[in-house]
Amino acid sequence: MSIALKERDLYLADFVDLQKERETLDPTWLKELRKNAMQVFTRQGYPTLKDEHWRFTNVSPIARTDFTLAPLGQIDAGSLASLDFSDLGIPRMVFVNGRLAPEFCTGLDRLEGVRVLSLSQAIESGEPLLERYYGRCADYADHAFSALNLAFSSEGAFIHVAKGAVVEVPLHLLHIQTAAVDPYRVHPRTLLVSEESSEFTFLESFLGMGDNVYLCSPVTEAVVGDNSKIDHYRLQRESRQAFHMGVNQVQQGRDSSYVSCGIDLGATLTRNDLSCVLNGEGGWAGLNGLYLLNQKQHVDNFTTLRHGAAHCNSREMFKGILDDSARGIFRGRIIVDKGAQKTDSKQTNQNLLLSDNAFVNTKPQLEIYADDVKCTHGATIGQLDETALFYFRSRGIHQTAARSLLVYAFASEVLETLNVAPLKEALISYLTEWLPKGDLVRELYQK
């Protein structure tokens, strides 16, 4: 039990306030869910280093902090526009400190074949899919941050892609956390349901405006229908002092395709739980990630990929670039159920260390119960290839530039999985700022 009595009372007091506030807003089923979630949270508290799945990520800084609920954040159009990644030229739904900011939402009318509502709109209209799926996919019984989010989440997005709809235009869900004096917590939530044979791409970005301490613990649930294709990108660039504890839970139908790419740039402490279950035959799951860390940043990617049916393929590619004293943790669990014959699964985690003090701990974890499967995994932790570096220098390219080009080349494999061009470009721009002599990298992309 890692919440001290004093803090637990603080969370409980906040919860009682929330319940009062939502008394007339929440349907009964939601009230029940919240209550259950809160019970789980207060009973278990935050995880400790003794917990099997949290051995390398110490969340005591979170447990120790008194968080208020997120203050009302006011931002003006100018400061929003100057925020990297905020304007990608695609339809955008904006949340500021966990509240919908309709004044900044744009282009949603360009989306055809998909309903996009704020969660409060969906709750208010009694959306039936909500009761069916909300809080049912993401396992909160064993996960403090998931439980905390389910208890406290009061806003987010509900996306329903219609049967057969091929939505050409991607959607950007932008979660902005403003600067503030006191540490606060915010719990955005997304539920996506895609019907049979539909296709949709969406990006969730989490951006901090300042340098302040806050906890952002989002939960995204995705129910990917039979034969549908979902591309899901996640961009995390929280304040450098923030904590980002994210949970993604995906349930896939037969013949479906789910491709995700998670990019972690900010926060001081990040943990991403990504759980993907292939429930029907013929499914495809492609999980990609890139973390770009320096100073004392810490990112922990914990993935659980379950092959629950036969003839499914999966590929995991997570890459990390770590400088200074940054720390990268990767745990890739792959579970192949007994009936999941002809599973074809490959997992790689590659880490590039740019300094002597950077640290990586990577571990694949395969639990295979079927006997006719192909499962490979590999992990590397290394520095820039000296031979490649010399090759560049022998052609007259200076060492600093050569190093940056090689780092870019390393990252580009993950960036290439992004199908939203403005996002890819924005990331390349970011990378060129992050790297010394990055201007040469910019030229590389523009070739």
């Binding site: 022998s394 052609r395 007259g396 390219i397 080349a409 590389l444």
Partner: protein
């Protein structure tokens, strides 16, 4: 152009080059031959500035400058080009980009303007034709998925694009079939002129039928044991390297 005096080089505590003297003037083509382990590749790599080798003694003078004081990129900018024996693959960086970055780096070094797109493509087309390299090879990442022969041809292609003063070819012919060999030779011969020098490190004599050297040196156990004209290559072809090992060291013909 190049003056090597009493060069001694070690790696991992082992002495590989045991006092090399070599003089290469502009316009000349020198071939360095020798059995495996003689130190041929080491010499080539040391000229390019590979720091895994330690120069323990001696000096190298290049165009009047102390080469050993120069970084690899400086040497390249000053006109030295090494065609690698085992070119590395670089996923994520296209051949086109790599070449452009190299050309511009060298131009910047000389205070020249960067190459513009049209000039670049013009140069590329010209050299590609000579080496029978296809268009799509350019867009691909450097050497990625290239066969051995393609990698070697890519080295020569880069050489032609960068127009070095001193080209050092490290066993460029090894592993090539006769057609690829002829193409590579054409490429190298196209570079021959009075203002340039070429050093060809080779194990086999065959390439020298196509790129006729002015001088042939035989390296054995870290020393040049024999230097002569192009006939020496033919003699070696007939008699093998062991014949030379029986000869007194330092005989020049």
């Amino acid at each position: 152009m190049l003056e090597i005096k009493n060069l001694k080089v070690s790696a991992g505590g082992n002495e590989i080059l045991r006092g090399i003297d070599l003089s290469v003037k502009v316009g000349e083509v020198h071939s360095i031959m020798g059995p495996n382990g003689s130190g041929k590749s080491t010499l080539a790599q040391v000229l390019a500035g590979r720091d895994t080798y330690e120069v323990t003694e001696g000096e190298i003078n290049y165009k009047g400058q102390d080469l050993l004081e120069m970084d690899p990129e400086e040497r390249a900018c000053e006109g030295i080009f090494l065609a690698f024996q085992y070119p590395v693959e670089i996923p994520g960086v296209s051949n086109t980009y790599f070449l452009k970055a190299a050309i511009n780096s060298i131009r910047r070094h000389h205070g020249e303007q960067e190459i513009d797109a049209m000039e670049f493509m013009g140069l590329v087309r010209e050299k590609m034709k000579l080496l029978h390299i296809s268009d799509d090879l350019l867009k691909r990442p450097v050497n990625e998925g290239f066969s051995g022969g393609e990698k070697k041809r890519n080295e020569i292609f880069q050489m032609l694009m960068l127009e070095p003063s001193l080209a050092v070819l490290d066993e460029t012919d090894s592993g090539l079939d006769i057609d690829a060999l002829r193409t590579v030779a054409e490429g190298v011969n196209a570079l021959r002129d009075q203002n340039r020098a070429i050093i060809i490190v080779t194990h086999y004599q065959r390439l020298l039928n196509y790129i006729v050297p002015d001088y042939v040196h035989v390296l054995s156990q870290g020393r040049i044991v024999r230097s002569a004209g192009k006939e020496l290559a033919l003699e070696l072809e007939e008699k093998g390297y062991s014949w030379l090992e029986e000869q007194p060291v330092g005989s020049t013909g």
